[in-house]
Symmetry: C2
Subunit: 210 residues, 2 copies
Amino acid sequence: MNLRERKKRRTRDALLRAALELFATRGYEETTVDDIAAAADVSQRTFFRYFAGKEETAFFVPRLAETHVVEAVRARPPGEAPLEALRRAVLESWDTINEAIEELVPIELHMRVYRVIESTPALLAAHLRRAAELEEQLAQIIAEREGLDADVDPRPRIIVALFGGVIRVTERLWSAGDDLSLDAMRQLTTTYLDQVGPALAENWRTKPSP
Amino acid sequence: MNLRERKKRRTRDALLRAALELFATRGYEETTVDDIAAAADVSQRTFFRYFAGKEETAFFVPRLAETHVVEAVRARPPGEAPLEALRRAVLESWDTINEAIEELVPIELHMRVYRVIESTPALLAAHLRRAAELEEQLAQIIAEREGLDADVDPRPRIIVALFGGVIRVTERLWSAGDDLSLDAMRQLTTTYLDQVGPALAENWRTKPSP
DNA sequence: AGGCTAGTGACAGCCACTGACAATTGACAA
DNA sequence: TTGTCAATTGTCAGTGGCTGTCACTAGCCT
């Protein structure tokens, strides 16, 4: 890797870390691009040469995680039922994701930024749109696994929408709670996924909540 | 109603219609607030006195629809299973919603704007966030119906997330297709909701798609 | 009729973002 | 090494969304 390449990487990382640090401490809306550029000691114009917009810095790490999840789903054995494959892929990918993140920014900083994403309307909106795109990808993968065409058979999109919905609910609850550990997230996710069956029962009153 | 009040209503409607017309013909990003204000023959500053932002004009009509849906769910008999109540509420509310919309803008214009929302990243993101808020409301209503606490029992949020996921999939497919009629939407929705059960089956290969 | 106030326009300014151009800096061959 | 080329950067100017301020006008109320 060149001196030039290394310099670029350093600048990008400096901008990224500066941005996330500022978002986590001061808040997203309260941070201007000029602040970020100043903190990384480059011009505002340079910031926009590394990131398409302020938003992109906030989603740089989540994008990593998404990539891992997609690959984890692809790697699942074809025998598994779709929902099972999605569930196992997500649960197992979280372990490995953390290492990849830590190379870029401290996990703890990432957690704090995640909270900011969930509590900042503009960022939450962007997050949900990204999630929708991810779901589209996953639906295609599931369709392939099952030898179906997602544009004809509704089931791949439905099962992914269901799964995605549950994940988003748990994400929200997790980020609103006070235990931001990986274990808490894992616990919440399995609990909620286990409730999908009961939720579809005709009459809820026969079986109380856990 | 005052002359003053009437004048205000007229100004707001003029701005709204001008905005939607411009969005539908020229596109959202290609329309500036100055364009909208000019088309309605008021200053840009006045535009911002009627709408919090450009985005709000695009979601003015959808907001109406959401209100109707919430009320329709509230009006469902308590005996129905949750998913059934949601399904019937949505299907039945569409009929009545259209009349309310037509008082404000032509339905046909609304349809064209809806397409713009689905195909404009910034608007789609906002739409998904609004949908998430709506789901939260519906989860509370469902929890009440069943005499549960949505913060303790996961099932209300899960069932609403599932339902919302399916609705969003159908919205997307509908707006991407070429039959923008109400009947097409209704058809698509019932078909997809009917596939929820099959989608949860362990092995999809036993039963092909319809 | 005349004072009161809600609604408006004009103006200035902030912030995200972009295009254009000039200055700088690393890469690479002579 | 040095000179040349290309990549990277900073500066400047401009656009569009959005907000605060202030003076002015138009409808309301007694």
